[in-house]
Point group: D2
């Protein structure tokens, strides 16, 4: 048991850059501020390690909160090789790509009034219900263009949707050939639209068939790293993908608002993941507890400052 570097009292300077602030957090080094600084070091190393396959897990209502722009940017820059998302984030990405908007609202308001004005609430974000009409038109037209005689893997369904859009996460992923996994796609408005389509048309989407490509990729990867925003299905799906291979993740950063003592995977430490072999015994890994609408922009802005040309 040894003491490390001394804690340095933070010194702020007007007009300092985000990475300069991150370096101050590193020198202070404590609690989640220190963890965030370690996350920046790990994520920098992960992004600049060319042998590493880069996973990104996207859970929580991040697109309605404006965090989709960061995912799009990372996709464009080549810093994501495989994206695993909840269906909700992809739904809201499509909505934004179709030109509908989410709006600043309030968490302290009458939800019955909102209901009567046909505004849906996501904490303090408002989404007028009409966005879902635009979404429905897009989805029904898109599903109609599928080959009714084929069974689609979920990733391919999402690629088809992305190809019909001209901006946002699904569009950029499709354009760059980056697979988007969404194992719980039925659990989203995309799923409901598929059900709706199936009332009159024929659609077949296989729950498992895209796992083959994923696990093959894991087998052939020399090294793998993951940035996990939130927990949920994306975190578990990414981590379990390595269970079938002899190796594990060698880099892992988790930004979560959950907590470990409730036992759920979303709040579980990455240490716990070592016992399962999901990450390697000597993996560089850190969990930052807090709201990803703060920690994700700080982390990515600092790392871009370090590595972007």
């Amino acid at each position: 048991m040894e003491c490390g570097d001394p804690v340095e009292q933070i010194s702020l300077k007007p007009r300092m850059s985000v990475n300069e602030l991150m370096c101050e957090l590193a020198r202070a080094g404590a609690y989640n501020g220190g963890a965030l600084a370690r996350a920046a070091d790990i994520y920098e190393q992960m992004l600049t390690d060319e042998k590493t396959v880069k996973f990104f897990g996207l859970a929580g209502a991040m697109v309605p909160a404006g965090m989709g722009g960061i995912v799009s940017d990372l996709l464009s820059r080549g810093y994501i090789d495989l994206l695993v998302s909840t269906g909700a984030n992809l739904t809201h990405d499509i909505i934004e790509a179709l030109g509908c908007r989410h709006y600043h609202g309030s968490a302290f308001c009458s939800d019955i009034d909102l209901r009567q004005e046909e505004i849906n609430r996501i904490y303090d974000v408002f989404l007028p219900n009409e966005a879902f009409l635009t979404f429905e038109t897009f989805m029904q037209e898109s599903l109609c263009a599928l080959d009714p005689g084929r069974s689609y893997p979920i990733t391919e369904l999402l690629t088809v949707l992305g190809q019909r859009l001209d901006r946002g996460i699904l569009s950029i992923a499709a354009e760059n050939g980056i697979p988007v996994y969404c194992p719980a796609v039925a659990d989203s408005m995309i799923g409901l639209q598929c059900w709706l389509y199936s009332q009159s048309g024929k659609i077949s989407v296989d729950a498992f068939s895209d796992m083959k490509g994923l696990i093959d990729r894991c087998f052939t990867a020399e090294s793998a790293g993951a940035l996990l925003v939130g927990g949920g299905v994306p975190k578990n799906f990414i981590l379990q993908s390595m269970l079938m291979t002899p190796q594990g993740f060698t880099y892992a950063v988790q930004l979560t608002g959950d907590r470990p003592d409730l036992g759920g995977l979303s709040g579980a430490t990455l240490e716990e993941a070592r016992s399962w072999g999901k990450i390697t015994e000597d993996a560089r890994a850190v969990t930052v507890y807090g709201d990803a609408t703060i920690t994700l922009p700080m982390l990515v802005a600092a790392v871009l400052e370090r590595i972007a040309q």
Copy 2:
């Protein structure tokens, strides 16, 4: 703005029953203790309302924590009409049904040592890795018995598994014809086993086809109620199932360890759900924040005391 009943200072009596304690919490009426007491009132009313279709959402690592026994009991007593679960809870239910056990462990230990001893950790629960060998044998045999020419809905795959077991959640659900939904089944060891099987055999499981039965049930329900343990896919999937119908849930109880201000659905209030029409404007609904390993047993024990003959 009016004051309600006065807060009564709690009076404890040796040997009081769980429901007597719950009634004390009701008279105190504050914070999550008060919310839990309101949850008991709502859940009692929901279970005794014969016109109500009863949903149960199961997220979080509840089966490894011994909470599966409560779900099994509710299924046996006819208090669950549709169960929506994470894949992990069903995996661990199968493991227990096969005679393997989870063990009391510690959250403060070396995960590297655990890895070397082939023990997987879930917070303070230990699961020896050999359980997964037993699980694998069961799964491969079960999948082998499927008709390779058919595309199975996820619920039917789970029914088949339940029929091959003689205790636990899946077994009791299968025996009683209660459908178990697991939209994110690929995101679990069940999913990995299906992938493994597909390396040599043929398996086809459709991501969407069981939504028809679910939504039909929602359309025909005179009234619907939900007990949501944790958030994640089960909560969202249950709540969204009503979006396609003109009605919403009229009873809803949520036991969650998350928090609303992070924006994610898992911690979102049920008030928010009113803005979407997922629950009705005058639905009886309450959220209890806390660890479901405490709140679920208290809630169910108190309500059973009220209604059981």
Copy 3:
């Protein structure tokens, strides 16, 4: 690293007692449910160990939530030797002892409307402002009865107040000669009333003089135990009281809604307290994370069932 007992799936029985439920939580043994069951074992042992001096720390707005009744009951039964409280809990205890009431309210309401109706809000508890007028009369009369030539220790000031009341925490403590410590008394309505009195009268209360009695008691204790409800000043003050002695607490149970990773003492684990010597290396100690309006009544009801005659 070894596996302990197997996790038993919980079995609930209608009309089971609180302690029977607690024993089920012990057999399940996981997460905070398991921690609560261990807390019951420790607290039972602590209360029945006659050599042990019993501390009780009371933070959080517990009296307005009806939890004061439990503290009063424990004082009456002789299960608290020293009570350390926030000033707010004592203020609300006096208010209740004077016959004013707290009321069931709502956390989702207009605080501006409440302000205009002179109702103060504590999450979902309402307290009409007129209670503070009754409180002010009591306090000014009580302070007037003090000897202006003396400097009072805080504990003695609180004893004087308790002697002028006929029920509640301060009253029962005064009647039974149990000292009540409140190091941050200035940080409460009691403090504001003392300031108000000092505008015209003379009052002298010493910040430190009652520490002598406390630390003497710690020195002479063969063994010491603490039940800590919430963190804040009571937790720290109790734990630091042992720092001046060669020993530490041998029993410690903490019920807190905080979390450790933020670094604050309120959420710190009791493990951390071992590094400081606040609790002994082999102390029996456990932290239960959750809302004390649930965990405290369960804990005490179960332990009373075990030990009460």
Copy 4:
């Protein structure tokens, strides 16, 4: 119920300044990221409003985490008129001012080993016990220099300590005549040292006498604002100081890791404070939930960038 501005998807640029990032958070505007951006607007307005008396509340183990440097800086720049702190932060400030250091450590380690190596742990910060020997020498010498015939207000005791130091919070506050309130000073190592001194010498510190200066200041303030880091005694003491005046705080920013539903003041919303009149009905107020080791540096760096010459 109206929608506000649209949520803008965040756009990060390498080498952007902290305030540029904050402006992106403002345009996104959701969850705690949005709240932090509103906090920056309020804090900027509060610091540049010359009529406003500026309070700063310091709770949580902030000095051991390197956040003391930010407080020192704000004191030096004239942005704090009254500081209210826990005793622990002041203890650790003295320790650092005496040349002792806190060190980077780990939260996952054996506290029994730490105990045997005489290292005290504060989550992942290590503090060798020898620092307290240096602290004891300083404290005993300082207390010895007090006039044994006088009763000191707590603020004056702290000024005396600050005058004997040449850096850190207490030193800068003393140098600039800024009062430091610490109502729970007995609940800290400073309190224990005072007790120790009183074993042989005479010391008299009054619990209430410095409230007069505080409340007079509140009465004469044209306007008042507060930045509250953590909850605890500092938050309550600051907010209650206005209860005796006809006005309330007109600016308030709270950075807290607690949550409102547990009922405790530390996690209570500032809306709740409106019902009490602690903040005015039209006060600009916001709570940011998260770890202050991240939110405080971001907030202050962004605001300094806006206002510093």
